[in-house]
């Protein structure tokens, strides 16, 4: 089987475009996973309910995992397929931006939805204060 390689600028530009698109997907999937896990963590009674903290830890963990996994995958698997060093450098910069985009989308979109659904398990992750 012939190994897929990226040799031309055009190919790498397309790859970078796809990488940004994947970054958006990864951020959304990570959010969905974090949401499901947040829902699965039960409210606990008694003083000092630790469930909001657990959700926050999971939220941070999933975000970091998604970003790191995406970054490393691109470095270790995708970059390897780029044959020319200058093009590889260009992709690496784009990879950093895409990874930061994942974190950005994850945090901003997560934050906005938490703000909207502030009185929910999802909302309990945020540190926003109530407006009542």
């Amino acid at each position: 089987m012939k190994r897929e390689v990226y040799e031309s600028i055009k190919q790498v530009d397309t790859l970078i475009g796809e990488t940004y698109l994947y970054a958006v997907f990864v951020a959304i999937i990570a959010l969905a996973v974090a949401y499901v896990i947040a829902r699965l963590i039960k409210w606990k009674g008694g003083k000092n309910d630790s469930s909001p903290l657990k959700r926050r830890i999971w939220f941070i963990g999933i975000g970091l995992f998604a970003a790191i996994y995406f970054f490393l995958y691109n470095i270790m698997v995708v970059s390897d397929k780029i044959t020319k060093d200058p093009l590889e450098d260009k992709f690496r910069i784009s990879n950093i931006i895409a990874t930061l985009s994942i974190l950005g989308i994850y945090i901003i979109l997560g934050g906005i939805t938490m703000l909207i659904f502030r009185r929910s398990k999802w909302g309990s992750i945020s540190v926003f204060k109530s407006n009542n």
Binding site: G45, K47, N48, P52, S124, S130
Partner: protein, 528 residues
Amino acid sequence: MPQQVFIIGIGGTGMRCIESFIHLCAMGMCDDTNVHMLALDTDKENGNFTRLKDLKEAYLKTKGVNKNHSALKETFFSANLLYYQFSPDYSNISTFDAIFDYESTKYRNPDETAIADLLLTKAAKKFDLKHGYRAQTHLGSMLMYHSIINDVLINERGDLKRFVQELITASTAGRPRIFILGSVFGGTGASSIPIIPKAIRKAASLISNATDIEQNAFFGSTILTSYFSFVLPSDDEKAKQKLIATSDKFSLNSQAAMMFYEADDTVKQTYQKFYMMGTETLEWQPSKFKDKTITGGEDQENDSHYIELLAAFAAYDFFNVNELELKRLKDEKKLEYLYRTFDDNGKINFIDLVGSEKKEELAKKFGLFTAMSYLTLLDKYDLFGQAQNGDLKKVKIDGYEDIDLEEVKNLKIYMGLYHFYFRNGIIKDGWLRQVHHSAGDGDKFLFSPTLFSAKSVKELEKFEFNDSIYQKNSDFETKKFRTGVLGMGSLYNEFFSEFIKTPEPDITNKCEKLIKRTYDTLCKIYKF
């Protein structure tokens, strides 16, 4: 404008009946009502009197510490309780002879002592009145009547005077209802039932001539016949106490009292409704002491009985009956006797307490209040502790973290007295469990038997009150909620998920606000 009702509990049994009525108020059965409650007992130290005082204190403090209380609707603790108490002072002068100054009067006014000699035995004149009138109703009626009049005359700021003043105000504005709770088989209750309307009228006339309470007000009472017994006293005890009320005479006392009420025109023309109740047998032995007779004092703290709850519902019925009906009875000078029998299987159902129209309301409020007791009392849930701790801020519900510590503490005390409390790691029965026990345990009383089966904290914590409050195959079997699919959820998780979605009630006092929010949440999840 809240409804004004007046309720008077007399004697040891009256105290326990009032206790049951307070629980009805706490369940929310007396919405939008100012309940003026007078506890009348000769025995200040009586254990049941003390328990009642603790209960009302917890109720009042739950509604607000150093705050104005008001009547609310559709919540727990909705009634505005105004509590008054009166005990004739027998601390120094404690026998009839001493009150009457018998020895001197004998020389000064022999005619008077001759009447006393005719009506009262030697023992009746010499027994200690601190523990009640000990089935000496002729003596009790006279002493109680004069104690009431005397207190209104001399005690300017006394509870009794304030109670009568409230009654005068209500009587000027409308036609108040006064319900009297007490037994007819003992001393204090049986003595007081016939004379209370007269004593109140006289007391009111000493304060104001503006209104005739006896004419304006409607009167109802329980005719609570014998339903418990206690150990018969030994000869030594009899000699020591001079006169002692024994439970073997309770049936006879009840019969004599009923014959008197039936024959007495004053009673018949004053009261509009008598609610008759009692049990077939006297097997119930509520005293904590099985080897000696307790005549009164702090040791007399009897467990509650379902008959007392039935008496509280008699008052509830009287307060809710159509005014035209009471007016007709009053105008025609008729006294209506009411009674209710239970099924042959001995089971007590919601319908037996309030009839078919209100059974759903009772099942809802009684059941949900019981559910709230778990949320309040068990550390595993501790909703109010969470609020106090600021945990609700985590779900962006602000404003409960400064809930009054004293109010939360008293709510917990109240719930303990209602359902169960812990002492030295042991579960003690509250009112609900005592009443269930009196009905014969098992499925004999309203709720599922599993509700009462927990014997340890662990068992209480394991109890799934989401689907085990109401009895299987009852009208309310469907009133329950699931705890997620395949055991993924939990009882508290379901409750709290709904709780945070429940709109904020428009109530100023934080503790009452949280109670109302809990009530609304429970109504939703139990599908009421």
